[in-house]
């Protein structure tokens, strides 16, 4: 089921991977949601994850960002173990301070946006740069307006989330994550609430990010994006990685029946 196909450019070119997921399991009580996930993402790589609803895609992203504790396995970002410290083969929980430091390098766009309702779009975007990176307010604002401009929301900077349409909220969430200039971005269905036109725009933004060398893990249902921008495509189902490899190859010629079935419904 999880026979790992040779991975994408990062590994192929012998570059040290930025993200390494090794045999990760996740239980919610009795529910076994991730069942031994293995995955590597090279620096600058765009790794696209697809899979049916409930297959554990969001959970995997949340584990990488330590929003869920994993039940078994290891996750490394930049060679440092995520969420734990390993001393003499024994795992120690990291302090919240260290976890916060690890997260600073990882940006995340949530499936449900989670904008701060008591702050305007602009305030949402500058919150982390001013509070975490200690940027001056003026500088952060300048950068934030640029980002809002980029996602087409410069005229909504002073709106509260409750005054924004679904698509507008999603774009603010993207700008908010980008404002921290993270090394690694995790996108959880970043275009789900967008109209096709905006999807194009946002994917364009992401393409540019990819070109600028940002590493990204993107959960998406946009097969087109996977094909065009993705360096690797991973297909998950029921908590396991069914298949992983070059997007064009997989889309053109899926190896597994389940992948074939899924893609057939999509294309």
């Amino acid at each position: 089921m999880t026979e790992t196909t040779p991975l994408a450019k990062g590994k192929a070119h012998g570059v040290k991977p930025l993200v390494k997921v090794e045999g990760v399991h996740k239980f919610f009580g009795e529910h076994h949601v991730l069942k031994g996930i293995d995955m590597t993402v090279a620096p600058g790589e765009v790794s696209v994850i697809i899979g049916p609803s409930g297959s554990g895609k969001s959970t995997l992203l949340r584990c990488i960002n330590v929003l869920e504790t994993i039940s078994a396995g290891r996750i490394y970002v930049h060679d440092s173990l995520i969420g734990y410290r390993e001393v003499n083969g024994k795992l120690h929980d990291l302090s919240t301070k260290h976890i916060a430091a690890q997260r600073r390098e990882i940006g995340m766009v949530f499936q449900r946006f989670n904008l701060f309702p008591h702050k305007t779009a602009l305030q949402n975007v500058i919150e982390a740069p001013t509070q975490v990176k200690r940027q001056s307010k003026a500088a952060a604002k300048l950068k934030a307006l640029e980002l809002l401009e980029m996602v087409g929301l410069s005229d909504r900077a002073d709106f509260y989330p409750a005054q924004l349409s679904g698509g507008q909220q999603q774009r603010v969430a993207i700008a908010r994550a980008l404002a921290m200039e993270p090394e690694l971005m995790l996108f959880d269905e970043p275009t789900s609430a967008l109209d096709p036109e905006l999807v194009g725009d946002v994917l364009e933004v992401m393409k540019d990010l990819a070109k600028s060398g940002m590493t990204m893990i993107v959960v998406t249902h946009e097969i087109g994006f996977a094909r065009e921008v993705g360096d690797t495509l991973t297909f998950m189902d029921a908590g396991v990685v069914v298949e992983s490899g070059n997007p064009r190859e997989i889309i053109a010629n899926p190896q597994h029946a389940r992948t074939k079935e899924f893609l057939s419904r999509v294309l």
């Binding site: 089921m1 045999g23 031994g36």
Partner: protein, 322 residues
């Protein structure tokens, strides 16, 4: 870097569950130790300080008058909280009414009853019979239908319960208002879109979710009311716990041990209430607070996982096609 699993076949090998060593916080433990030492010292000095006269505490803790006092205190608390809760829900809804007069009256009510001391209010309830010897029910400027002797209508008991209940309703109304505010607006919209009437929406959707936030301050108020009942002396009502222990203290001139007797009883009742609060909170937290966040480390879960095949049939897709 070692790979803890034999391979990536989860159903094959054993799952090497993470059992991480928790973060050490030496500073915290020192702090905690200091707190514990202080608590122990305080407790020890409480027990050994002869001024507390624990022998007298022992003599009176189960005195028949004291037990009766506990009973009356409970009756007053329960009865007046019941009145207060009913009124408070009414007031909280009135505050949201379209009718400005209703909103205004609810506001004045909250303003007046929160604004004046409960002791004064209770004195007035005690004085109603003096101030208004008879209450006349009738058509305004018309014939009198019924004349009641106030002192028969408002006995000490009734005065005490009504007085406490009305006062408390103002405080609870604010708590309920805050609770209703805490529920996301989308919930009301979703319920209304399903065609539910306003009252249904409130009772079945908004209030149950608000309860999570309403319960802790209402617990405060209930526990506060327990002690406020001692003010019913103003009505005058002379059977509650505080009054009884005061009387005993006056008789023997040993106020401290009798204050301790009262305090112990209040603590016991408070403990029971706090246990009750815990369960009520748990009930209303279902679906939100009680959602399992941490994995159950029990081997049972792992065993179950091993037993099941991992062929994707335990996903959520089975019924996907009709």
């Amino acid at each position: 870097m070692r790979s803890p699993l034999g391979g990536s076949q989860p159903a094959g090998g054993d799952i090497d569950l993470i059992k991480a060593v928790p973060v050490r916080h030496p500073g915290r433990w020192v702090g905690a130790a200091v707190i514990i030492i202080v608590l122990v010292l305080v407790a020890q000095s409480l027990v050994t300080n002869e001024r507390f006269r624990w022998d007298i505490v022992g003599t009176y803790i189960l005195d028949v008058l004291v037990i009766q006092g506990v009973g009356w205190t409970l009756i007053l608390t329960v009865a007046s909280m019941a009145i207060a809760i009913v009124l408070a829900i009414l007031l909280a809804f009135m505050r949201q009414s379209d009718n400005p007069l209703f909103r205004y009256v609810a506001w004045v009510w909250v303003w007046f009853f929160r604004g004046t001391p409960i002791y004064t209010q209770l004195v007035f309830w005690g004085l109603v019979a003096t101030l208004y010897p008879t209450i006349v029910l009738g058509v305004p400027f018309g014939p009198e239908l019924l004349t009641v002797n106030t002192s028969i209508l408002i006995t000490a008991k009734v005065g005490a319960i009504v007085g406490l209940g009305l006062n408390e309703s103002a405080y609870l109304a604010e708590i309920f208002r805050a609770g209703l505010k805490s529920v996301d607006n989308g919930q009301m919209e979703a319920a209304e879109a399903l065609g539910m009437r306003r009252s249904k929406v409130m009772w079945r959707i908004v209030l149950p979710q608000a309860m999570r936030v309403i319960i802790p301050p209402t617990g405060n108020e209930t526990i506060g009311m327990l002690k406020t009942t001692s003010l019913v002396l103003a009505v005058p009502f002379t059977l509650d716990l505080t009054f009884v222990t005061n009387t005993l203290a006056n008789r023997t001139y040993e106020p401290i041990p009798l204050l301790i007797v009262a305090a112990i009883w209040y603590l016991i009742i408070t403990s029971v209430l706090m246990v009750g609060q815990y369960f009520i909170e748990k009930h209303y937290g279902k679906g939100v607070d009680n959602v399992m966040k941490a994995p159950v480390m029990a081997t049972a879960a792992v065993a179950a996982a091993h037993a099941k095949p991992t062929t994707g049939t335990d996903g959520s897709k089975e019924g996907g096609k009709e």
